[in-house]
Symmetry: C2
Subunit: 337 residues, 2 copies
Amino acid sequence: MSVSVREVAARAGVSVGTVSNVLNRPDQVKAETVERVRAAIDELGYVPNAAARQLRAGRSQSLALLVLDVGNPFFTDVARGAEARASQEGLTVLLANSDESPEREANHLDVFERQRVSGILVSPVEGDYTRLEEIRKHGIPVVLVDRGADQPRFASVSVDDAAGGALAARHLLEQGRRRLAFVGGPLRIGQVADRFAGASAAVAEHGSATLQLFGTDEMSLDEGRRVGEALRPLIRETGIDGIVAANDLLAIGVERALLFGPDPIRVPDEVALVGYDDISFAASAVVPITSIRQPRELIGATAVELLLEEASRAKGDRPRHVVYAPELVVRESSVGG
Amino acid sequence: MSVSVREVAARAGVSVGTVSNVLNRPDQVKAETVERVRAAIDELGYVPNAAARQLRAGRSQSLALLVLDVGNPFFTDVARGAEARASQEGLTVLLANSDESPEREANHLDVFERQRVSGILVSPVEGDYTRLEEIRKHGIPVVLVDRGADQPRFASVSVDDAAGGALAARHLLEQGRRRLAFVGGPLRIGQVADRFAGASAAVAEHGSATLQLFGTDEMSLDEGRRVGEALRPLIRETGIDGIVAANDLLAIGVERALLFGPDPIRVPDEVALVGYDDISFAASAVVPITSIRQPRELIGATAVELLLEEASRAKGDRPRHVVYAPELVVRESSVGG
DNA sequence: ACTTCGTCGTGAAACGATTCACATACTTCG
DNA sequence: CGAAGTATGTGAATCGTTTCACGACGAAGT
């Protein structure tokens, strides 16, 4: 059905080897022959078969990016950065979504390994790295994204989440807030745990301040809204005056639930709010949300960079870890009141 | 380097054919042998090579979804729906982003064709379908997504954008608004053109009403903000009292620029606003935004459905077109005032 | 005139899985 | 007991590319 090199070769009156050369090293073929082969390719509508090439090469021209949530603008920006850098190397990025489910993550990893992708960028769901070790043992480089600065065995790009959590909490403390709440979860997600730990540490520095954890099942607008509803009565009862959300989706949801319930809570007057990620929607919320910004596209580009390094890393060298610093972006949700 | 069936076969003391059978039709192999082969697979850490399988099969186990903008929650929801349906068929979805660029679109299509994907779901950038015709002629089924009900030659899933545009405009007219603005672009994007046409038609039904077009280069928050800035002085000068935005990102950006400029415009008091897509952020905007809802996940699932149909379609049968009806979701941005 | 190059091209082997026509060994049936 | 069937396995051929050892041929050097 499909046209192959063999037919192109016949049509152009050359051997298959020559067709392949025209495709891959045209400078080693006489100009006139190149011309003739190109013409045959066009006339027959020949399209190279990537599977065959890949079989021969032992490796595909693609690299995989497996993220926790494609719906989160943070990751789509990371993807954008990765794609830009990868295309400079002639690599295609396969974007996949684990939706924070270990099963989906495992499935995708299986597919990628069978695909013999030339590398995997992954923001892993849980703290179990045995599958990733295995993959790497099979010769596929792995780079942890937005995670794993604590994993000496894998290269990683991340942002210091503990520092980010501390930044958020300290900002609230500076605004005079003392009874803080942390909204986020599940805690098995490393980013969340670290942000919480960082916030806790900052609060601990203040003798008089407290931090209470409100867990969530996922990091979505809807979950934020749910927690917001739960928080609304509690805030006045228990005197909570500051909230750190583990990401902006949660923050937006929480804010909305607080502002528009039957017995609304004023932001920032009654409770101050800080989100995380600084997605563009944070600035467009009802009360624009103070957030922690991360260099998103840079993270993606750096991840690809590390992948290339990994591929050519000598046995002795240690995997590299790049940690970027988060940045506080102050908006109305946390000041005044 | 990599373990192959041959080595597994040797280890288990069987032929390569048997290993393949264990993998693909275990019921035709004696239980004890299956056991032995499975053991060998585990011990050697064998992972099948997808390229080899695919080369033999002539077709990959993946299908491609090429969207205009992965940053737009509309498309990530479509992707979710497609993925769910595809995984029922044992197919993987490759998600790619054309970012509304014809070049990027062409690049991705090339890669997919070389990959011999088992089908392509695409929301095309421009009205040029010759490349897609070519791909289909080469035996790869194509389904247009969110576009192309007017293209008899391709199967398609879409939502009636003209009806949606009309719905939005008519709603504003019913609220007593008469001098309307349409924000969106570029008009070469079919969805935008249709929504504008629908809105124009609805306005034309009212003798006294007018509709003015404000073009954009892309459909993003930032572009919306830019147009909003431009609109702010104009609104009072020219008496514009209603705005239809071609999507919610634009609407959110416009709203924000109107509300927070140096000389703010009240929404909906001075100007009423309707967006399009009903992304979750629309409900969480400063003034929650009235929008046009589309059955997003259903669109993705239906697209995969049509792809399967296409793959087995007889020569005589015509490609199928599914058109869903959009729905108006009223929020504060358009009522009262 | 003879070697030595360089240029251009050839065609078979290899990559790893699947398939299929063909064995082999047991049952079962008449 | 022989024929026919069933269950289980075999291994060579195949998919489409790339690679590589090897010609063929004319130009240049001695």
